[in-house]
Every structure is written in C-alpha cells, then in structure tokens.
Point group: C2
Chain length 361, copies 2
Amino acid sequence: MNLRIPGPTPLPDNVLQIMSKQMINHRGVEFGQILNSVTENFKTLFQTKNDIFVYTTSGTGGLEAAVVNTLSPGDKVLAVVIGVFGERFAQIAEVYGADVTRLVFEFGTGADPDKVKQALDADPSIKAVLVTHNETSTGVTNDLEALAKVIKSYDKLLLVDAISSLGCIDLKVDAWKCDVVVTGSQKGWMAPPGAAMLSFSAKAWEAVEKSKMPKFYFDAKKAKSYLEKNQTPWTPGVPTFYALHVALNELVKEGLDSIFARHIKTAQKTRDGLKAMGLTLFAEPKYASNTISSVKVTDGLDGIKLLKILLDEHDTVIAGGQANLGGKIFRVGHLGYVVESEIDAVLEALKQALPKAGFKA
Amino acid sequence: MNLRIPGPTPLPDNVLQIMSKQMINHRGVEFGQILNSVTENFKTLFQTKNDIFVYTTSGTGGLEAAVVNTLSPGDKVLAVVIGVFGERFAQIAEVYGADVTRLVFEFGTGADPDKVKQALDADPSIKAVLVTHNETSTGVTNDLEALAKVIKSYDKLLLVDAISSLGCIDLKVDAWKCDVVVTGSQKGWMAPPGAAMLSFSAKAWEAVEKSKMPKFYFDAKKAKSYLEKNQTPWTPGVPTFYALHVALNELVKEGLDSIFARHIKTAQKTRDGLKAMGLTLFAEPKYASNTISSVKVTDGLDGIKLLKILLDEHDTVIAGGQANLGGKIFRVGHLGYVVESEIDAVLEALKQALPKAGFKA
C-alpha cells in the first residue's frame, strides 16, 4: 500500500523490526537509557536546550498537555486559526476555561503577522498565543519565525502546534523563543502513532508554576520529576519508544539540513506533478507546506470517487478534506520516511484515476 | 530476561511479530475492522454489553478518563483505598475538584463491605464510589462482588480500577453492575503498554451527560461518536491495536474459565513456592491476588540488594515496594502470558539469591 496521508506514515524496515522486541522493565536501566537517548535526540532535532517530555498519547493529547500545564481558567488567549487544527487548539483551551479570542485567517492562507500584532495591541490582557506551525487540514505552513517575532516582542507565552512540521520543516525552538512546542510520533519522526513530545521553555515553567487548570496524566511537573530518574510517571508505550530510539538515531545522523532539504525536494516534486496534470493547489504558494499538499476539487472532479478509485485500483491512500473542506480538497502526504518512487507512484495513480473520477483538465 | 513485574508482561511471539506490521490508514476499512474486533472481544472478556472504548494512554490515563467523564467539581466521592493505586484514583478525583472522602484500609488487607456500608450511611450525599479491584502495590484483590452489592444497593455510581485484574481474575461487569471499569493493555491482555480500556454502563452515561469536569482528549462522548464509524477520535497507537487484535482473539478462543483457572494455578504455585522458602506473604490470605504476590522483607533480608542480585545474576526482574512500602515488601508478577517454567525460574532464582541478600529462613 502507498500510504500518502499526513500520518501515520510508512515506516522503514529497521523501525518496524524493533517494534517486535520483547517487553522490558519500564523502570529499569535499559528503558532509562532508551528514554535518555530519545530525549537528547529530540533536543537536537527541536534545536532546543529546553526540557522535552514524551507522553504516551496522540498529538491532540499533546495539545491538551500544552494548554493545561501553562494556563488557568479565565486566562485571555489569542488563538491564531488557519484551519481545523488551529480551531481544535482553541477549543481545548476553551474547554478548560480559558477566555479565547480567535483570529481566523481564510483557509488556504497563512497568518499575517501584522494582523496578529493588531490583535495583541487591541487587547493587552492577552496572556498566551496559540499558533499552528503546519496546518495539516489546509496544507499551509505558517511563517512561524515572523509570527514568533511579533508575539515575543510583546513577551506573550507562545504555544506552538508543530505536530506535522517538526522533524520535517525548520523550526528553531530556542532561536524563535517558542515556549511550548508539540509534535507527534507518527508525523516526521518515522515512528508509529502513540506518542506526543512537548518542549517547555523557562518562561513556560514560570507559567506552569502559576497554572490552575486541572491535570494529572499530562502534568509536566510529574514528567520532569520522573525524567530526572530516567523514567516516565506512568507506564509508557514501550514499543513506541523502541521505534523512536531507532528512528531518531538515524535522523540525528542524517542531520537537520538534509532532513529539511529532503522534505523540500519531495514536496516540490509533488506540487510540480500535481500542477502538470492541470490540478490547482489549494494553499497559497508562499505558504505551501513541505509535508502535505492540498489540491482543489475542480473541473468536474468527484473527490470522494477519486479516493475510492485510488484505493481500489491503485492500493493508494490519500486524504480528503476535513470539516468544511470535505469534498472541496484532497491532500497528499509527503512527510517522514518517503522514497521518491512512492511520489512517482501516487502521481501516476492520480493521472489514471482523475479522468475516471470526472476530472476534465 | 524473566520479567516478573506486574506489567509490562512478556508477550507471546505472535503478538510481538504483529507489532512489526506496516502502518495503515487509521481512518480506513482495515483499521475499522481491527477496532471493531478488539472492541467486541473486550465486551466478551469484560462480561458486559456496555460500551467499551480503547484510549491511547496508560492505566492512569484510564483512571482519569473514568473520573472526568462522570463527575463534576464538588461531587461527593467515597474513595475506598487499600494501597497506592487506590490513593492515586482518589487524587485524580481531587485534582479535578471532587470532594473526596477516603476510606482507608490497612495495606495488605481488602476493603470490608460493612465499613463501606457505614461510610455510605454516614453521608447520603455521596454520589460515586471509587474501588480498586486488584491493588498491585499490596498484592490484594478486593471482594469486588461483595463491595459492588453494597454500593449498588445505595444506587451509587461505581467506578472500578480493574487495571491489573480484568482478563485474569473474574469480574462480571454487568452482573455486578459496575458503571465504569478501567483496565490497561500491558496487564492481563498479553499486549504491550499503550492503551487503556473503559466500559461505560447506562448509569455511567447518565452521569456523563451531567458531568462538568473539563475533558477533551478523554471525552467519552467523542469516543462514542467516532466508534459509531469504526474510528477513534484521535490518532490511535496503531501497533498496540495490532497486538490487542491478535491477543484478544486468543483469549476469547481460550475462554474466561480457562483464563481464570490458569491465573489461579500460577498464583498458587508462586505462593506455595515462596512460603516453602520460609518467606511470609504480605497479603492477608483470603485477599491474596492471583496476578501478583507480595512478600514481606523480614529475617535480615535486604530487599534492594535482593532485586539487584536477581537482575545481575539471574536476569530476573521482580518489583520492590511502592511509596510507604518501599524496602518493606517485594512483589512477583504472574499475570497475562506466563509459562510455568518462568515461575519455576523465578522461584529458583529467589532460592539462590535470598541468602546472599541476608535472608535467614
């Protein structure tokens, strides 16, 4: 199967193989060494000296951990929303009692730093800003560096959803002063789903100390105190750690420059191929994501039928649109472990399937 | 390695092998079939017709899910505490604002149903009761049937921590009217850590409708609405589901009677062996757990040294005492996939290690 969704991604053989390793004591020396190696490698790949914790949860659980550890009910929060996952981040903060103001940008484009500046000027009581680095639902990558520059010039707490960008697209956690950054194991990391990783800056820890939102499983202070003895507070998903251990060693060996270049190259090849078929990309070109490409459903195309033909006749899985974008776009994932022949194959499959699904170039 | 802790447990080969299966679309037909099979098999093994959800989290996350979905801040809760995990359940409810009264029994014994009755009589405003079925920290199994009979005669909401009992020790979820029951994948289920399973009764759903504790990742209503389309709300730990799929098919084929008999037999063999060495069991005999045996550290024994010798010289891992029981007991796990030779081996290792660790029989 050619699995071309934005995670889970296909995994390399050595990562798959290590998943079959027998269970070990999660409070023993061997697991401690794995946890230590995984954590240190994540620090390299996050480009940070901040604390990093691996939670046994999904990316959404990671977003919840970011919110509940740093905020209190009633806190004023600015949520920069450019798609479904930005909206989810906002909802989590609201569920836990934050006073959330949404700054929504048209889906398909990125957030304008000037508009964020205006929003911060308009309400000085804003404590924290939620930003999605890479919005999987629209195929858009925000200019996080520019956004962070504005947000940190106001000294706000910056919580970043980097679930589908970190490990693929450049994100300098320390240089850009991102306070909490969230990612998920099944995205760029060549690992299965089952873990979310979060970094906490010194400013984030100050917020943790004042935070009054309830938490237990996601409590970062518990994660920190256990990490000091090379453990996790609760029983971790051991095989996911085996996979991360192998995968991160490879990624660190490869180096960030190569990882970013690889994603840029694969994304460009995908976009070029899609456009050559007469398709129209959904994301504004300057914001086009290097981990997922979104395509408009136009010119007679039946998006649902397309997905079905690709699956039935080409053993290929791409993603449809989410929420309001259902039926309006389709999406091709190209993050993590991708080999060029998989991109060739998905483009060839689309070429054959598109006319059958009604597309008239 | 002879891993004799109360989870993670060693896994059978076919469960380990399936973990190396390539990733699939977690919103596709194949994953839906796996999720459906796993859920139906859990219903058989929980002896319930209630809804069951598999969360990508640890057992502690499962306890949190039980609390936050059914309770509201200010709710009066009776926590029946017989060890570390009963205390944890109480703490979770407190963190989320419940008004918790603890009914604590001496560690090493089970909860007395008459005392529970008195506590319920003393405060008719109690809404919910938290009970640990099998207390891993002390090696005690509560008489849940008797406790549930009392608690349900008052029509209270009954939340049960069955993390280390379900799938090993008889627990009739429907017949005993347990409203929410929590278990963890790495215990009796012959699967790796990474998932917690919860059942919700009709009465639990009524509580869910009224519950005001904040939740997002653990939201049972979201889990229910997605399960109706054979999905989980958030990206699941796919390999953990592969493992549960294979393991539960085997357990259902084996049948509950055989599963319970197997655990009784293994536990008896372990206890007999321990006593034959002159050791004193910690748990009161009538409450002795069939998933884990606890042993007093007496007669000159250095409990820490014992664990080290077992690991270094016998490649065997047992568990020490937790919290106040640190250094006072040690524990031998015998749950899930255990072969008789592993029990022979741990007993033989103990026989050799005990005198070296100062034990004078």
